[in-house]
């Protein structure tokens, strides 16, 4: 080929070479682009939602707004808790905006669909809101990390504690999608291993506002414990319906398996006192947590949930990895993130496993009585710590394709 006669070909070849070379070592497009995808308007709005976006923006501001001179750009979208909308948004962000990190990610069904898209296109996502343990089990990908908690420690903490206290016959009320199914499976396993029994269960559509018929079924089951394998507004509605039908007065006890700080705050201590729950973080846990929570409170006007705190923590860790690796290439950043242990106000003894699970200490907590509470947000008492390595599903039981056994 005569190169003098083909200046355009040569130019194109040179430019593409240059682009390829720069993509390896630098930050693509000269910007670190973070897309925040969450339920901004529906059932899960209050546990992540706009408050999570605020936490993410706080992390970006605290980091200084840029990484190695490249500005950090944040944009967000509402996934409406629909797998369809979530996956399409992520696809568009990758195709159109060359997004470097997808953060937030709340409803498990959306997460499973979105991480598939990330895997196909070689992106990176940090899942902070979703609960299903299957996200790092059968649905694991090298392209996402699961940060805050999952259904395995929820079952391992709350369900185990309740069975040990003598609540050995269970009825489960399950949200009918990935998260509910995962929680139901994990709880069933823990209850049966500890000598309890599941006497019945019913699945309700997600989301549901009228729980009366399900509560009546639970009452008719004769179980001593009614386990709520749902979250957000569903849990609040179920607990409210249960109190209207006098479920607890008739001798049954409610077990909220996934209860967030904002749920307890919304329902009030009168209705929730004594409730056992497992959490990944609590604002009043120690000095570092209190300090960060106070800053968040000053900005947003509410105390943060564990999801919102986790979004800050994971974004910080991501940005530090981008800085250390001096690139936003997803695979490199993912590897760099896994090298560094995570010790901040949010995570204790944290590390990222090869299946993408960020394991860290979890806590068994109990909702305070109105008399014991000293303020609007003084809601939990931490009973015990579940060490990081015991809290999560051991890799020996993992079905994840990334785990060599």
């Amino acid at each position: 080929m005569n190169l003098h006669k083909k200046p355009l070909t040569v130019a194109v070849a040179l430019v593409s070479l240059a682009v390829m070379a720069s993509a390896q070592a630098e930050i693509s497009d000269g910007e670190v682009r973070i897309g925040y995808l969450a339920d901004m308007s529906g059932t899960y709005r209050d546990l992540g939602g706009p408050g999570g976006l605020a936490a993410l923006e706080m992390a970006v501001a605290d980091f200084g707004g840029s990484v190695n001179g490249a500005p950090i750009v944040v944009f967000s979208a509402d996934d409406r808790n629909s797998a369809d909308v979530g996956a399409n948004t992520v696809r568009e962000w990758i195709d159109q905006r060359n997004v470097d990190l997808v953060a937030g990610l709340v409803a498990s069904s959306v997460v499973i669909a979105a991480t598939r898209v990330l895997e196909e296109n070689g992106g990176l996502g940090i899942v902070s809101g979703a609960a299903a343990s299957s996200i790092t089990n059968e649905h694991c990908t090298p392209n996402h990390i699961h940060w805050v908690y999952d259904t395995y420690p929820l079952a391992n903490g709350t369900a185990k504690a309740i069975v040990e206290q003598g609540g050995d016959s269970w009825f489960l009320l399950t949200a009918d999608y990935a998260f509910g199914h995962a929680l139901e499976a994990d709880v069933t396993k823990v209850v049966e291993e500890n000598g309890g029994e599941i006497v019945g269960s019913v699945r309700h559509p997600f989301p549901t506002s009228d729980f009366s018929s399900y509560i009546l079924q639970a009452q008719g089951s004769g179980a001593s414990i009614v386990g709520l394998a749902n979250a957000g507004a569903d849990t609040v509605n179920a607990i409210t319906a249960a109190s209207q039908f006098g479920l607890t007065q008739s001798g049954q006890q409610l077990a909220g398996l996934l209860v967030f700080l904002n749920d307890v705050h919304a329902m009030g201590l009168d209705d929730t006192q004594g409730l056992l729950l497992t959490t990944g973080w609590y604002w009043d846990m120690d000095e570092a947590s209190r300090e960060w929570a106070q800053r968040y409170f000053d900005e947003v006007g509410r105390m943060p949930t564990m999801v919102q705190a986790g979004i800050y923590s994971s974004t910080m860790h991501y940005l530090q990895a981008v800085e250390a690796a001096d690139t936003d290439d997803p695979a490199t950043v993912r590897a760099t993130m896994a090298e560094a242990p995570i010790e901040d106000f949010f995570a204790r003894n944290g590390r990222i496993r090869e299946d993408g699970r960020m394991v860290h200490d979890m806590y068994l907590a109990q909702v305070k009585t109105p008399e014991a509470s000293t303020g609007e947000w003084d809601l939990y008492e931490i009973l015990s710590t579940i060490p990081a390595e015991e809290a999560y599903r051991p890799l020996t039981e993992s079905q994840c394709k990334l785990v060599n056994r």
Partner: protein, 333 residues
């Protein structure tokens, strides 16, 4: 349709013939311009977004065939869209060797069979009763998909590979996928165009205008309506199957009755009983949803769409294209 019945052009006075020719020329130029627009559009606009518009446009066109030309308001078309999507998605996800066109064909076929079933059960009722019967049947189908293990319920059906068309042309790239979807849309659109302008289509319109009279002329109205219903269901299934291939997932959103409502909205906004109305309506609704979702107005999508719908119904009842055609007729004839 106030035009005189089309006879051989030579039998008409020459002035009329010339006007007809000009008219035809104008139409031809219009169609060609649209075709060219469709061909170059993906170079300027995000192809996946365009594909979404085309899939919904085909869906709305299929629905319009029933509402606009037979006068039957089906409130269960989401069932066909979802059936096409789920069957195609399931086959392509579980049989990696299957080529996409066979997957789409299977999905369309499944929707056609379901359409025949729905049609036989619902076609004897009219008006609100017809709408209610189709809605009830579609809800049954929705519940089936919610519970069936292969659909993944609320999580959706993932991992549908776009694969290679005829085993040769890779559809992984967005551009090649777009031209395939554009081809599918054209095919569907041509089928509708042909149906509407055939003697069969004339009978359908006659039934819409006055069913007892059509029956008195010896037409078996129920059979005609059933065939139209099945064609409409098949095309809705085709739209769903194509959509699944584009997005590589099928979800309950497509089976939900909201979707049946949305297609009515698209058709009415664009102009019911016009060929291009559903296309315009679908473009408008999909674009609005798309733009609003990523703006601060995100939570207000439904409110904005609702307001536009109310405005549209109150001020121009024949829809955007319907009004445009009226204006054109007033000024150019």
């Amino acid at each position: 349709m106030s035009q005189p019945i089309d006879t051989a052009a030579g039998a008409l006075p020459s002035a009329v013939a010339a006007r007809r020719r000009r008219e035809r020329l104008r139409h031809g130029a219009f169609y060609l311009a649209l075709l060219a627009l469709g061909l170059v559009a993906p170079l300027f606009v995000y192809p996946v977004f365009l594909m979404k518009i085309l899939c919904f446009a085909l869906f709305a066109c299929a629905f319009n065939l029933l509402l606009g030309y037979v006068g039957l308001l089906s409130f269960g078309h989401a069932a066909f869209l979802a059936t096409g999507g789920y069957v195609t998605g399931y086959l392509l996800a579980s049989h990696p060797g299957l080529t996409p066109e066979l997957g789409i064909l299977a999905g369309t076929l499944a929707a056609t069979v379901l359409g025949a079933l729905f049609g036989v059960l619902s076609i004897r009722r009219q008006g609100i009763y017809f709408a209610m019967v189709t809605l009830a049947l579609a809800q049954l189908v929705f519940f089936g998909y919610l519970q069936a293990p292969f659909t993944g319920g609320e999580d959706g059906l993932h991992g549908v590979a776009r694969g290679e068309l005829f085993g040769v042309i890779s559809l992984r790239g967005n551009l090649s996928m777009y031209y395939f979807v554009f081809g599918v849309f054209l095919l569907g659109f041509l089928l509708i165009w042909r149906t509407v302008h055939s003697p069969f289509g004339q009978v359908l319109k006659a039934i819409r205008e006055n069913e007892p009279r059509a029956v008195s002329l010896g037409y078996n109205a129920d059979a005609y309506k059933l065939v139209a219903f099945v064609i409409s269901a098949a095309l809705a299934g085709l739209a769903g199957a194509t959509k699944t291939l584009v997005f590589q997932l099928a979800s309950l959103t497509d089976a939900h009755w909201h979707m049946s409502g949305e297609v009515i909205l698209m058709t009415l906004l664009g102009g019911v009983g016009t060929l291009f109305g559903p296309l315009v309506g679908a473009s408008l609704v999909v674009s609005l949803q798309h733009m609003l979702a990523q703006s601060p107005l995100g939570n207000w999508v439904d409110v904005v769409l609702g307001a536009i719908f109310v405005l549209c119904v109150l001020s121009f009842r024949s829809g955007i294209v319907g009004e445009a055609v009226k204006l054109y007729r007033k000024n150019f004839k």
